[in-house]
């Protein structure tokens, strides 16, 4: 079964090659090649998912040795001292991820056929998207961190190419380089983490690492002074921080909105950014083993969630709002994993992928019809675009955590886990606090977006007049994605008996249970811990409902009924608003101080140093030194020193040559004087030598 799974990643790869080489010449510029390829992958992924649903457990691996470097034993026989083995791992998590990724990707491919119609480099767009899908699926399938990292960076490349798709716009190029460089910061640390793993365990295969951690191998090894597991855990976390745009490396995601909207949907909502969280899930046993890293992960997640949510409030660009909401939701997932709620975190990843993809595609269809991204120029589109409105509204309900929708199920569990974590450890109350606050703010700004775009009167008549519903190819994906946002799809025990028995399908929890067994972390809680959890989940349910309702209420008052004047609040809040508007000045900090003033000046100075000083002083010129001497010794030397200056050590030798040549005065008698003087000196030494 694992061999067929390889096909999932190979189809889009083949599509990329075909598209890149012959895209332009194919009919319809070859968009059908990519779409067929991704649907093919979906077709292969579904039976695996079905097998998981029916049997509740699926496991298969397939390995091939990629690089073997021989070493010589004492006996002189060649053994393979370094053997990099790579392959495919299919377990419950992979099956779910495969299904979700291929589903979202297929729908987004379909959507972009309509959205990108008429674009100048149409065929290249599909080439890049296929390459990206191949990278993402490769990442999901790979059973070791090396190929994981390779696909990870391949996706980084595709996001660079796709963000910079409209390369005529300077802002797009800057955004693409910013994205690539920021993620690369995270990737470099992640790679060091992998190197650490090879150092500690000699392999980066997940299964091998799980077994080694269970066996308690290598708890005492230190790398460069730090305990090994903590350092590796931290480095792996930094990989996620880079890729999933967590604090402090979150600056690139909002700018990544420069790319076409399907790209934002596929890459910057559903899959790539989720890969960071997927990494945490894959490496959860390692993080858990190091005890120090998990709380850090939780705090990073919580802080990112809260900060991003606040910024989203003030955004006017529809895609920017969604971008910040993505960062915020990712913060949720990271917080979930951080507090040990590993299963809800993964669940939120899946649910978020669906409804966030739907939200982005809806915003895409809105932008496609009104040709602007600024919400202040929209309004009253409800009547004009009924299907887009309906699907977008469902997705908004899901993300705001309204019960009955998938978002509620996963977010509630995460908040429950966070609460349980803080109650258990009698500390860290900041994490659940930030969690609930973010939940409220999320509801607030999502409904603000809905009201500003669809409700109220049209602010710009010309655009309103043009608004029209999108063709079927674009609306069908919206409907399917909206459908997935309903809770029954993922229903699982919500802790409330009455609600639970209504939800017939518990497949998700069974799958996660099986996965935890494999990872060796199925913690069997002690009775009182069980009670604390139960109590926490009940409390969390109440709190999240209250907070979500509050958010929606405030949002409707200000933006639907206009009872509170948003402008007045803005003035009253004043400096806080500008702080939020400038995204806490992170951009200025990174780009301005760190890059412009710090790095580039340093380079310019170093290059000048290399060219002028090292090249000149050590090698080419003693000019400055001779200048200093000149100023002291005065006129006579001025004549001698000036004529000596030629070029560097060459100066010195040439200078030496010049001095020696001055003895060659041309007058033969002076030669004789010199010769006789040398002979007298020689005699003096001979005499001295004799004594």
């Amino acid at each position: 079964m694992a061999q067929q799974a390889l096909l999932i990643a190979l189809f889009p790869l083949v599509a990329f090659v075909i598209q890149a080489l012959f895209g332009k010449k194919l009919p319809r510029h070859g968009d059908f090649v990519s779409v067929l390829a991704i649907f093919g992958s979906f077709a292969v992924a579904t039976p695996i998912f079905m097998k998981l649903l029916t049997q509740g457990h699926v496991f298969d691996t397939f390995e091939v040795s990629w690089m073997t470097l021989p070493g010589i034993e004492a006996s002189g026989r060649l053994n393979s001292s370094v053997n990099l083995v790579v392959g495919v791992l299919i377990n419950n998590i992979t099956a779910i991820m495969l299904f979700m990724v291929t589903l979202c990707a297929s729908l987004i491919h379909l959507f972009s056929v309509g959205y990108m119609h008429g674009e100048e480099r149409y065929h290249l767009f599909f080439a890049y998207i296929s390459l990206f899908s191949a990278g993402m699926l490769g990442l999901v399938l790979s059973d070791n961190l090396l190929t994981f990292f390779m696909c990870w960076e391949l996706m980084g490349l595709c996001s660079y190419l796709l963000i910079g798709f409209y390369y005529k716009k300077p802002s797009a190029i800057n955004a693409s380089i910013k994205a690539f460089m920021t993620t690369r910061v995270g990737d470099t640390m992640f790679f060091l983490g992998i190197a650490g793993l090879y150092y500690v365990y000699g392999t980066s295969n997940f299964m091998a690492i799980y077994k080694a951690i269970q066996a308690g191998v290598a708890h005492d090894i230190t790398i460069a002074g730090f305990p090994a597991l903590t350092l590796i855990g931290f480095l792996v976390m930094m990989g996620t921080v880079g890729k999933s745009a967590q604090f402090p490396l979150q600056v690139w995601l909002p700018d990544a909105m420069e790319g076409p909207t399907p790209v934002s949907a596929l890459i910057h909502a559903a899959t790539m950014v989720a890969a960071g969280v997927f990494l945490l899930i894959r490496m959860f046993p390692l993080l858990e083993a190091s005890h120090v890293v998990l709380p850090v992960v939780a705090y990073v997640g919580a802080i990112t969630a809260f900060l991003a949510a606040c910024i989203a409030i003030v955004q006017v660009d529809i895609k920017k709002v969604l971008a910040y909401s993505t960062i915020s939701q990712l913060g949720y997932m990271v917080m979930g994993v951080g507090v040990g709620a590993f299963a809800p975190g993964f669940m939120h990843l899946i649910t978020h992928a669906c409804f966030k993809a739907c939200l982005f595609l809806c915003s895409g269809s809105v932008i496609h019809s009104v040709h602007t991204q600024d919400m202040r120029e929209m309004g009253g589109l409800k009547s004009k675009m009924p299907i887009t409105f309906a699907t977008m509204f469902i997705a908004t309900l899901a993300i705001s955590g309204v019960p009955g929708f998938s978002g509620f199920v996963s977010k509630d569990r995460i908040l429950g886990g966070a609460l349980a974590y803080s109650m258990e450890h009698h500390g860290h109350y900041l994490i659940p606090l930030l969690g609930f606050a973010t939940a409220g703010i999320t509801a607030f700004y999502m409904f603000r977006m809905i009201y500003m775009t669809f409700f109220g009167h049209a602010r710009d008549e010309h655009k309103h007049h043009h608004a029209h519903e999108q063709p079927l190819t674009m609306t069908i994906p919206l409907m399917i994605l909206a459908g997935l946002s309903f809770a029954i799809v993922f229903a699982g025990p919500t802790g409330i008996e009455s609600v639970d028995h209504v939800m017939p399908v518990k497949w998700f929890d069974q799958a996660l249970e099986g996965a935890q067994q494999e990872m060796g972390i199925a913690e069997h809680l002690s009775p009182e811990a069980e009670a604390v959890h139960h109590q926490a989940h009940g409390l969390a349910l109440m709190l999240s409902l209250a907070v979500a309702g509050l958010g929606i209420l405030i949002s409707s008052i200000t933006y639907l009924k206009h009872l509170i004047n948003a402008e007045a609040i803005k003035k009253m809040v004043g400096p806080l608003y500008t702080l939020l508007w400038n995204k806490y000045y992170f951009d200025e900090l990174y780009l301005g101080v760190l890059i412009q003033k710090g790095l580039l000046n340093f380079n310019r100075m170093l290059a000048m140093f290399d060219d002028k000083v090292v090249d000149r002083i050590f090698v080419d010129g003693w000019r400055d030194v001779t200048m200093v001497i000149k100023s002291f010794i005065g006129k006579f030397d001025d004549i001698v020193v000036d004529r000596v200056m030629v070029d560097g050590t060459a100066d010195v030798t040439a200078g030496g040559g010049w001095i020696v040549r001055q003895f060659q005065t041309g007058k033969v008698q002076q030669y004789l004087v010199l010769t006789v003087m040398v002979i007298i000196v020689a005699l003096f030494y001979a005499n001295l030598g004799l004594k």
């Binding site: 990629w66 470097l69 390369y167 190197a195 460069a224 340093f602 000048m608 050590f618």
Partner: protein, 504 residues
């Protein structure tokens, strides 16, 4: 049996003689002679690759007979895992460069004669196993390089040529002293590199210098290291590189970056490591520091460059830093990664230089940002799409993007170096190089290819078939080795394993 190595080395020499004899006013005949003179050794090289035995670390295709009996100097040629990749790289790049320099008009005979003479020198260096023969080929290469840079170079060609010649000669005269020293301090006086490596002959001895009794093996190690470090180039000795690369014609700077830089590291692995293992261990920390400096220094300087070729030159300094990092780690993965990086850097930098040459032939300037601050190039991706595509491949290969060859060797170097507990802090600092590498290459890609079109270059015509022919094999190599590196990696495995037994 058929002396394949000598034949491969001397066919270009025959080609040179044929060219000198060819009539003056027929440049095409000269070009075709040189194509044949490089194609035949390439074909033999492919046969060599096929029939090379990957399992034994011993020397293969050995040719050994007495040359100068009184000094026990032998004509001793042979290749093993270390030299095969370099030999193949030399043959391939020479063949491609001969095609790439089709556009040379003035002094065609002189140019191709010098070029073929250079190839003989390079082949000799990689195949020679007798120190005297090695030194002979090592210095012979300087002559054609001086004339190639000096006559067909850019504006400051004369200064660059003499600087290159003086620098490398300084290095190689130190090597001459070490060679003679090793001859007289080895028990049965010999120049044979394999015999010199037997029995740690130089460990105890000392020599008097300025009144002190200095240990002989450390002095030899330092002398050889300086000679080879100038070639690599390693940090304090690198200032000739930007000059020589910028002023040399395209094909020559490809060979300079593709092959000549590797001779330094190849020399260290061929001589310093096996003959003076104790001294190498003694100096491993020192080499690691220099490697890290090379990486960061090259990257930082590259960031501030405004000339395309100088940027690629400094990037070579940075990439060679990885090789030194890998070599100094004494781990299987590290050293294998280093030798693979020598091969991969050869292909990816050759691509970059060829591409810079393509744009230079059309526009006759290489300014990313003109000295007066105005834009050199801008947004030419829309005008020359195919060229941009190939440049992207070359760029991302040298960037170390997974899926292309640069990543594999960088990964091996870092995995290897990291698994040696002594050097972990160095590796962490060195990994900054990966980050900076991405920065300056992407900055260049953005400034030259993306953004609004610079009107000056509206009518730039795209890459033609001849240029594609030179770049295609390199693209294929870069991609194939990125996916499955074993075809090149298994060549060197057994030799490096045997080499490392000295250090375990």
């Amino acid at each position: 049996m058929f002396p394949i190595l000598s034949v491969m080395t001397y066919i270009p020499l025959l080609g040179m003689i044929a060219i000198l004899a060819a009539p003056r006013n027929n440049p095409n005949l000269v070009r075709w002679i040189s194509v044949v003179a490089t194609a035949v050794p390439l074909a033999l090289g492919i046969y060599l690759y096929m029939s090379f035995d990957r399992t034994t670390p011993a020397m293969q295709f050995v040719e050994q007979f007495d040359w100068i009996k009184p000094f026990n100097i032998q004509y001793y040629m042979g290749i093993d895992g270390l030299s095969v990749p370099m030999v193949l790289l030399t043959l391939l790049l020479s063949f491609l460069c001969v095609i790439a320099s089709w556009g040379i008009e003035d002094g065609v005979k002189g140019y191709y004669a010098m070029f073929l003479f250079l190839e003989t020198g390079m082949m000799g260096v990689f195949c020679a196993l007798d120190f005297f023969l090695f030194f002979l080929f090592w210095e012979i290469m300087l002559l054609p390089m001086y004339f190639l840079i000096g006559i067909w170079g850019g504006k400051e060609k004369v200064y660059a040529a003499i600087k290159f010649f003086l620098y490398t000669l300084f290095g190689s005269v130190l090597m001459l002293l070490v060679m003679v020293g090793m001859y007289y301090y080895s028990e049965p006086h010999t120049f044979n590199l394999l015999q010199l490596a037997q029995g740690h002959q130089f460990v105890g001895k000392t020599v008097a210098l300025f009144g002190y009794q200095l240990p002989v093996d450390k002095l030899f190690w330092i002398g050889l290291f300086i000679g080879f470090a100038i070639k690599v180039p390693i940090w304090p000795f690198h200032t000739w590189l930007p000059w020589a690369h910028v002023e040399a014609p395209t094909a020559v700077s490809v060979i300079l970056a593709g092959v000549l830089l590797k001779m330094g590291t190849y020399g260290i692995l061929r001589m310093n490591y096996p003959i003076l293992p104790e001294a190498t261990l003694w100096a491993s920390n020192f080499m690691m520091i220099l490697g890290v400096i090379n990486i960061l220094y090259g990257a930082f300087c590259a960031m501030a460059q405004k000339d395309l070729k100088k940027l690629v030159a400094y990037s070579s300094v940075s990439h060679m830093g990885y090789v030194i990092l890998g070599m100094a780690s004494f781990t299987t993965a590290g050293v294998n990664g280093a030798v693979l990086q020598m091969f991969n850097h050869g292909t990816s930098t050759a691509m970059l230089f060829l591409l810079v040459g393509v744009i230079y032939d059309r526009v006759h300037h290489r300014w990313i940002v003109k000295p007066d601050g105005s834009k050199g190039f801008g947004g030419i991706a829309s005008v020359v799409p195919v060229y941009t595509g190939i440049m992207a491949i070359g760029l991302f290969a040298s960037l170390g993007l997974p899926g292309l060859s640069g990543f594999i060797s960088e990964a091996l170097v870092f995995l290897g170096a990291f698994s040696n507990p002594k050097f972990q802090t160095y590796v962490v600092i060195g990994s900054l190089g990966i980050l900076l590498g991405a920065a300056y290459l992407l900055w260049m890609f953005m400034r030259v290819f993306l953004g609004p079109l610079n009107e000056e270059h509206k009518d730039l015509e795209d890459i033609n078939w001849r240029e594609i022919l030179t770049l295609a094999p390199l693209c294929v190599l870069v991609i194939v080795l990125g996916v499955y590196p074993m075809p090149v990696l298994n060549l060197m495995g057994s030799t490096i394993a045997k080499l490392l037994t000295l250090f375990s």
